[in-house]
């Protein structure tokens, strides 16, 4: 298998919890800059797959490559420093820190000054400015100095993405970025994602099928831990098996 040409590749990835197989032989390719959606019914192993790729879980078998480099045995933080960042389905933020503090923390870490005990943060203007840029990109500039816990839920979802983006990833894993957000606002979140620079490959889980078909260039359908099929939105929409299992016959695309 050629693993060098693509941003992310998995080969025969499996995850068992005891006797339960949650992810079974997943061979997956994410080209550079692709907007790729991962869909499937509840319990099909989507989040487990994200946790395996992000390094939160260790696979039972199989390998993963980031731009050709074997990352299977790297810790989560090592993967982030190599350009693989993720967000969480349930907000995993820093409640008493402000967005600017949280994002500055990520930028400082990426710039290699995260372990400095002596440097003054207040005087690290470049680092703060870069963090501010990222917040602007995610429409959070105005809320940058309010404690995270006081932000509206939709804003917190955007901060989830800002934290991952601040690591300057080549591959971004988004676990239901619009989960729990009212439909009018979920469009804003997905359009932020589609506005991301082209050199970032995005793999996202999303339940709203309309949004998936609007924003994804390719779609992978996961059912019971296996890849059922993969293709362009048009191919997926036309697939009778997908329609039967996942979309239901009434869906018109």
């Amino acid at each position: 298998m050629n693993v060098n040409g693509d941003a992310l590749t998995t080969a025969g990835l499996c995850k068992n919890f005891g006797a339960l197989s949650v992810v079974i032989d997943v061979n997956f390719v994410l080209p550079h800059g692709c907007r790729h959606a991962l869909i499937g019914p509840n319990g099909s192993g989507k989040t487990t797959l994200i946790n395996l790729i992000g390094g939160a879980l260790t696979p039972t078998a199989g390998k993963m490559y980031l731009e050709g480099e074997d990352i299977t045995h790297l810790t989560a933080d090592q993967r982030v420093s190599r350009g693989l960042a993720r967000t969480f389905q349930i907000n995993t933020l820093f409640p008493r820190l402000t967005p600017i503090e949280a994002v500055t923390m990520v930028v400082a870490q990426r710039r290699g000054i995260g372990a400095s005990l002596w440097r003054s943060l207040k005087r690290s203007s470049d680092t703060i400015d870069e963090a501010y840029e990222i917040l602007t990109q995610l429409h959070l500039a105005d809320d940058c100095d309010r404690p995270t816990a006081q932000l509206a839920y939709g804003r917190q979802r955007l901060l989830e993405i800002a934290l991952a983006l601040a690591a300057r990833p080549k591959v971004l894993l988004l676990d239901e970025p619009a989960a729990g957000v009212p439909q009018q606002q979920s469009g804003e979140i997905l359009s932020v994602i589609s506005d991301l620079p082209d050199d970032i490959a995005v793999l996202f889980i999303e339940h709203d099928i309309d949004l998936v078909f609007r924003f994804a260039e390719r779609i992978t359908v996961l059912v019971a831990g296996r890849i059922l099929c993969e293709g362009t939105p048009a191919e997926i929409a036309a697939d009778p098996e997908v329609r039967r299992i996942y979309l239901g016959d009434e869906v018109h695309v």
Binding site: T75, T104, M105, Q109, L117, W118, A164
Partner: protein, 342 residues
């Protein structure tokens, strides 16, 4: 020509300026900090008969501060922090008994030994969180206490180490019977370490400590190596505690077994709770409040001291989570909002 008065436009603060202000604000000198250090300096002049108490307040404050770095900033709970205080105290005491009587290098060596002990503990506990951490640190604290208890040949056991002779500071300032040199020496050392702790919490590393406290699960997912950070936090916090212990050994010229006691670990937690967690100055204010109250109340009735501590603790946890410093901050905000209205 008549001058047309143009009203000056209200200064507009851009969001970007507000972003920078967040960092300037968190690292500002609070007036509580200035007040504490001024009052401490003045009390040395005003209460010449209480110099020993003042020095002990500062030393205990430094110990509570080291604990605040661990629990208040990095959110790492511990019930065995006295271990590092005791290691520092015995290191300084044994050094002096062995003939190494120069005080400042004694402090540095004590910091180093305590720091190494902190690092060693961090290697053991860096995979643990919550209750696991509390149990291990409690266990290590108790183990060390009993080890020192039974190693009479080295530590003097129950009798403690005595006859510690310390050379004059810089070869000049002799430790005197009234404790004048001791209290000034303590004040200067604790103040310098306070400045160092301020520097650390306002650094990028300090921000990562708060990140660990706020959400330990997210930290690896933004690229921060958690285990390495744990190691540095434990090492630094233990070194600070070690200096506190060494100071007490040097100025009292004795080291008692109580330097390692569980009571001391628990008291640090109480002081930080009363003063205000994650503020640094709260640790010192909490230590002062605790020790002065202990001094006054145990004069009245020594039996009831723990009753008052217990009551105070329950009230603070229920009604004043920010401690004394949090209360003062809220008071300031309230006064300012009143002023704005009128």
């Amino acid at each position: 020509m008549t001058a047309i008065e143009i009203p000056a436009p209200a200064p507009v603060v851009t969001p970007q300026e507000r972003a920078h202000k967040v960092f300037a604000f968190t690292s500002r000198w609070r007036w509580e900090e200035i007040a504490f250090w001024v009052v401490a300096a003045l009390s040395i002049l005003i209460f010449p008969t209480h110099l020993v108490l003042i020095a002990q307040v500062l030393i205990t404050g430094l110990f509570a501060l080291s604990f605040d770095l661990l629990v208040g900033y990095a959110g790492i709970p511990s019930l065995g922090h006295a271990a590092f205080f005791g290691i520092g105290a015995y290191t300084a005491g044994l050094l002096a008994r062995a003939g190494w009587t120069e005080p400042i290098s004694g402090l540095l060596i004590a910091a180093l030994v305590a720091g190494i002990a902190g690092f060693a503990l961090s290697v053991v506990v860096s995979r643990l969180t919550g209750i696991g951490l509390i149990m291990i640190t409690l266990g290590v604290g108790l183990l060390l206490y009993e080890a020192a208890h039974s190693a009479r040949g080295i530590t003097g056991g129950d009798d403690g180490l005595s006859g510690i002779n310390i050379a004059p500071i810089f070869g000049h300032f002799q430790f005197d019977f009234y404790g004048k040199t001791a209290v000034v020496y303590t004040y200067v050392v604790v103040f310098l370490l306070y400045l160092l702790a301020r520097r650390i919490v306002n650094s990028p590393f300090g921000l990562e400590m708060k990140g660990i406290r706020e959400n330990v699960r997210r930290v690896p997912a933004i690229g921060i190596p958690l285990r390495k950070r744990y190691m540095v936090v434990f090492t630094v916090s233990a070194a600070f505690a070690g200096v506190a212990g060494a100071l007490l050994g040097q100025i009292t010229q004795t080291v008692a077994l109580s330097a390692l006691s569980f009571d001391r670990s628990a008291a640090a937690l109480i002081m930080v709770m009363i003063g205000g967690m994650g503020t640094l100055i709260g640790a010192l204010v909490g230590a002062a409040a605790y020790m002065v109250a202990q001094d006054r109340l145990s004069d009245l009735n020594p039996v009831y001291w723990n009753f008052w501590v217990g009551l105070l603790l329950v009230l603070f946890v229920l009604f004043a989570r920010g401690g004394l410093i949090g209360g003062v901050d809220r008071l300031i905000v309230w006064i300012r909002s009143k002023r704005k209205k009128s």
